[in-house]
Symmetry: C2
Subunit: 253 residues, 2 copies
């Protein structure tokens, strides 16, 4: 897999494209439905930016689809070539979505949260692979181990669970950071006060199991504090209910 | 404040006691209602371990109460001395709880999650101070700045909000790590796969605002994936409801 075309120019495409190029894979083209986005990423990667999918060249070794989950099918339907190696990068989408378009289907799911604003060390990112045949899986493993030291195989069912686990561990967690920031700001307090706590909470589970290091009023079954917090949230009944729900779950766990 | 007595031997007392001793403060005694716990921590700190609160010496410069929130009052009621400097370390308890027992009341709240199993660098921990008079606040600041480079003043109302923000940013977040682990284990997947994601999610908000780096299906308003995840959680209606609740909040945010 020496030459690829990137279909998509979002956060995953950007970081994956850079990692591929750094490992010696040539990115021939970047497609996006917005030419400007395609060109921006293409420039970074020394590739050609295109917005017309019929301009995708036929001579790439693989076509990596890294577009929003809900447009993947419609982009595949516009894809102009047959029997090419088609790879998608989505956690929650089965490999089967590719099969009507090629017998050479694969998934390469990097399990990380990507923002254009922040560089990540791709070497540390788990990559989950799936392929429609063993030869393709082998060549995918070869490429992936150039990108990361944490390459595993996972089927579509396992990948779905990885994705939902990631939603809890990353997306919902980040949302709770945002709630914390809102709560602090109502009392004129800076988010900086809570940043060390956030980092320590994550670092703690790098070498421990979350169950073993759970702290806070709910796990101590300190109902007085839990109730005081519920009172404090009295003017925000939605947030109050969320606090109550999760505290009760922790108490029962 | 050269000599202190620690009332309590839990996680906060342990880490605070070590930080105090390392900054040159002498810990005279450690009290716990369990003698074994008192003695264990006392040994670490070169102090005397006691379990009878009437044995607390009268010659300390300050008495630091670091006990479970719901027993603090009853421990104060047993405390044998009057008009001593009394300090508690609790986020959600007002300074007022100390005032019936001394006019020299103060709070020193280290905003961090402590486990006995994991060392922390106390220097990086925000410490929030409150005191019943300015002289006491000054001497408390003097001690606290020996322990940490992040010392602030916060009143009891602000501290309550800090604590509830900490519950979201730390306790609930850790609980979500545990949910992620459970979900992975149902499919034979290792928690290691998601550890880099957890760390990156926390590191990202060290220099960004959480709102600016929110990712995932809910913020993309990708209802197809949200609904697929809800289906996947179908046999766990509690967890399904939690996923739905939080996703809807993120979509509306």
């Amino acid at each position: 897999m020496k030459k690829v075309v990137l279909i998509g120019s979002g956060n995953v495409a950007t970081h994956l494209g850079e990692a591929l190029r750094n490992s010696g894979v040539e990115v021939l083209q970047v497609w996006s439905h917005t030419l400007e986005n395609a060109t921006t990423l293409a420039k970074q990667l020394g590739a050609e930016g295109i917005s017309n999918i019929s301009d995708v060249k036929a001579n790439a070794d693989a076509y990596i689809f890294s577009v929003k989950d809900d447009v993947l099918l419609s982009v595949l339907q516009m894809f102009p070539h047959e029997d090419k190696v088609l790879i998608h990068t989505a956690g929650s989408i089965s490999i089967d979505i590719l099969k009507p378009f090629s017998s050479l289907a694969a998934v390469m799911y990097p399990l990380q949260t990507f923002s254009k604003a922040k560089a990540v060390d791709f070497k540390t990112i788990p990559i989950l692979l799936e392929a429609s045949n063993d030869d393709l899986l082998s060549s995918l493993k070869h490429v992936a181990t150039q990108l990361s030291s944490k390459v595993s195989v996972a089927n579509s069912e396992q990948r779905k669970y990885l994705h939902i686990a990631a939603v809890f561990a990353c997306n919902f967690t980040n949302y709770f950071y945002a709630i914390a920031q809102d709560l602090l700001e109502t009392k004129g307090l800076d988010f900086d006060l809570i940043r060390p706590l956030i980092l320590e909470t994550a670092e703690k589970v790098m070498h421990h199991s979350p169950q073993d290091v759970q702290t806070g009023p709910a796990v101590r079954k300190d109902e007085k504090i839990v109730n005081a917090h519920l009172d404090l949230l009295g003017d925000n009944t939605d947030l109050q209910r969320l606090y109550k729900d999760i505290s009760e779950r922790i108490m029962k766990a």
